[in-house]
């Protein structure tokens, strides 16, 4: 793997030059105070810029408009985008990773043809999985979909749908058979967000942002052609969706953590230690910095190893839960370190640029936002269940079916 990365110097140079020409140096501050609409417009424009360069969908096959990049090329791309501190295509994330993984795994040819090219044209997707009463116990979801001839009628409520306010389509899980064990009665749908009966309400988060949404579904009609896979097979298909966010997508975040650590160093460079000496010369601060650096490097090594195992074995294994847990808790520690270094000033209210990923340099906001990662995508407590049950083979809690 390391050797492969070395021989990609041409590709690396190409991406680096592209970043120099296309990443506007002031993008963060421009986004800092703009309106929600302007932020969405910025996201859409940035995504199209990436797509035109062939960098938006490196993991997609050429058949569907992707670049079919090797894993080594993807790593180089992530490294260079991260190094250039380029914006993340966060609004397109679910379409690029979750929708793609789901449809490639279980979609019909018609579904792929209708939806995959559209993702690259800018169609925004969101996810309708969690419910107020079905968080960690996702399989206990209650949203009902009742078949009525060639269509389903859906009623229920979804929550934590990231970006739903701007989404055109939704990956929806709903119960189609309430009389069988809970995992066996769930179906997977593609929902057009403009369908009558779909109501979206943003939720203001601890960070102050309102990126997550509630989704209210009242007699929403979904044509049967938008069912993915077989009726009642949705739980199994959802695993493919979830593995997409625990798989190679994490590589980009691991690379960006390195850039994040450079930002912590930069913060330290402008801080003083108690007593007034420069922070970077203070032994205690240096020890904390080097511990953080160590963990950032270990995260990158863990990601590379997971990807190598994936290549050899295929699919995403339960070890992805190790990475999710490690990444999110390291993100929390890294931002905590930066907050502590920054003292009182960092508590002065600042808004955070959207599309900045989870490390913007507005350290207090970044730190608060880090709980998104330890909670979302299956809380770290659920990840620890998965690790102990699926990797270590320990028994499930009695009563947890």
């Amino acid at each position: 793997m390391l050797a492969e990365l070395d021989v990609l110097s041409d590709f690396r140079g190409e991406v680096r030059r592209w970043c120099e020409a296309n990443v506007a140096p002031g993008w963060r501050s421009a986004l800092n105070s703009c309106s929600e609409d302007d932020a969405v417009a910025f996201q859409r424009a940035w995504f199209m810029t990436l797509h035109e360069a062939g960098y938006a969908a490196p993991h997609w096959s050429r058949e569907w408009g992707g670049s079919d990049s090797s894993l080594a090329e993807q790593i180089v791309l992530f490294q260079e985008l991260s190094r250039a501190d380029a914006p993340r295509a966060s609004l397109a994330f679910i379409g690029l990773f979750h929708t793609y993984a789901t449809l490639i795994h279980a979609g019909t040819n018609e579904q792929k043809q209708r939806h995959l090219p559209a993702v690259l044209d800018g169609t925004v997707w969101c996810q309708g999985f969690s419910e107020p009463e079905a968080g960690s116990d996702l399989a206990g979801l209650r949203t009902r979909a009742v078949r009525d001839g060639g269509r389903y009628v859906v009623n229920g409520q979804k929550i934590w749908s990231s970006g739903a306010a701007h989404a055109d389509w939704c990956l929806l899980l709903a119960r189609t058979d309430p009389d069988v064990p809970k995992r066996k009665g769930i179906s997977y749908f593609l929902l057009d967000m403009r369908t009558p009966g779909v109501e979206v309400r943003p939720i203001r988060q601890a960070s102050g942002d309102a990126e997550f949404c509630e989704l209210f579904l009242n007699d929403v009609v979904i044509p049967a052609e938008n069912l993915v896979g077989a009726e009642n097979d949705g739980w199994r298909i959802a695993q493919a969706t979830l593995s997409a966010e625990r798989g190679p997508a994490i590589l980009e975040l691991a690379e960006r953590m390195r850039t994040g650590f450079e930002m912590v160093l930069d913060t330290a460079r402008h801080c003083t230690a108690p007593g007034g000496s420069p922070a970077l010369a203070d032994p205690e601060i240096r020890d904390r910095l080097v511990r953080c650096h160590t963990e950032v490097e270990v995260l990158n090594l863990l990601c590379l190893k997971m990807i190598e195992n994936l290549l050899r074995r295929g699919g995403v294994g339960p070890e992805a839960s190790i990475i999710k847990t490690y990444y999110s808790e390291l993100l929390q520690r890294l931002t905590e370190l930066a907050v502590e270094l920054s003292g009182l000033d960092v508590h002065v209210l600042a808004s955070k640029p959207r599309a900045s990923g989870w490390i913007s340099g507005e350290w207090l906001v970044d730190h608060i936002t880090s709980w998104e990662w330890t909670i979302a995508g299956g809380t770290n407590e659920i990840q620890r269940n998965l690790i102990s049950e699926r990797v270590l083979g320990l028994p499930r809690e009695p009563g947890m079916d």
Binding site: L265, A281, V290, V298, L301, R384, I387, V391
Partner: protein, 381 residues
Amino acid sequence: MSTSTSTSDDAIDLDELRESARAFLARWCDPQRVRSRLEGGDDVDAELWGRIVDLGWPAIAVPEAYGGAGAGFRELAVIVQELGRALAPGTFVSSAVVAAAALSAEAVPEALKAEWLPRIASGDVVVVALAPPGSPVAVMATAVAGAGGHDGVVVRGTVGVVADAAAAVAIMVEAVDDAGEPVLALVETADTTVTVRPVRMADLTRRFASVELHSTVVEPDRVLARGADAVAAVGRIVDWGAAAMAADALGVGERVLDGVVDYARQRVQFGRVIGSFQAYKHRCADLLIAVESARVAVEDAALHLGVGDPDAAARVSLAKSYTGDGMATVAGEGVQLHGGIGYTWEHDSHLFLKRAKLDQVLYGDSRWHRRRLAGLRIPTA
């Protein structure tokens, strides 16, 4: 995550090496044998060492020109990890890893290499007496005129804790001369001015001794390196020793995790196996995360060490501090998660804990390695 190392062509060889090492140690260094040696004498396990020599392991790292296999550190790391898992004696690390690395240093005179490297490869034990990195060197070297116009040295002083010195035929001693310049000198244990006294450490699975040098004369042709060359050779000793300790600790951590998971599956309390309690299984998950993250750090250091990579020292310090601390914590959890039985002498948990704690400090403790890493990776302004 599997224990395999990489997708490259030699990955299979490493996996095979690991399997055969594990099988060998299961047979010749089983828990009963480890136990029987705890309260026993201060000898090396001569029978086990003889079998290790028969396998050719001591020749693995010795350059081909001197009768060895000239392999890199990745092979060594696999073996050392298995030795840690099995709570095996430390002779392999002391001689075949650390002493072989020291003698292979560029500055060491050809004649010394030609004399001692083949002996290490064929099973003679040579060890290094080193002050803990960061501590002052207690052995003084005074120049004396030697044959052929070159100066020899007289060394005097005591090194308190030297691994496997009682089994050694020769000891490479780190000393400082009158000008404060470092000297690396080789003495033979048959020399009557060299006194080796067994020192029992909390870790009873390995053997240690103090080495007293009562004005031992070192002829010029036994001086391995001086000045900058000696600094480089000591750096090599620390790097190889530290990487080996990280691998040893990883093996300990792996085995502790296996033991905890086995126990979690069979111990019943409140009418169910304790491994079904979230409070317990989450701690098992944390042990796995610690072991797997240490594994990638050790593999990374092993990949870069011994191939002339200028970044190897940083990677070794990273792996040593991270793995040393992480596996010591894992071994402590191994005691706790077994409850009362885990605190008994007859249970192996304390053996793993004491070994991991010692691995954590040998060849540079975590603070020393983090400071070195910070010097290499964290700017000062």
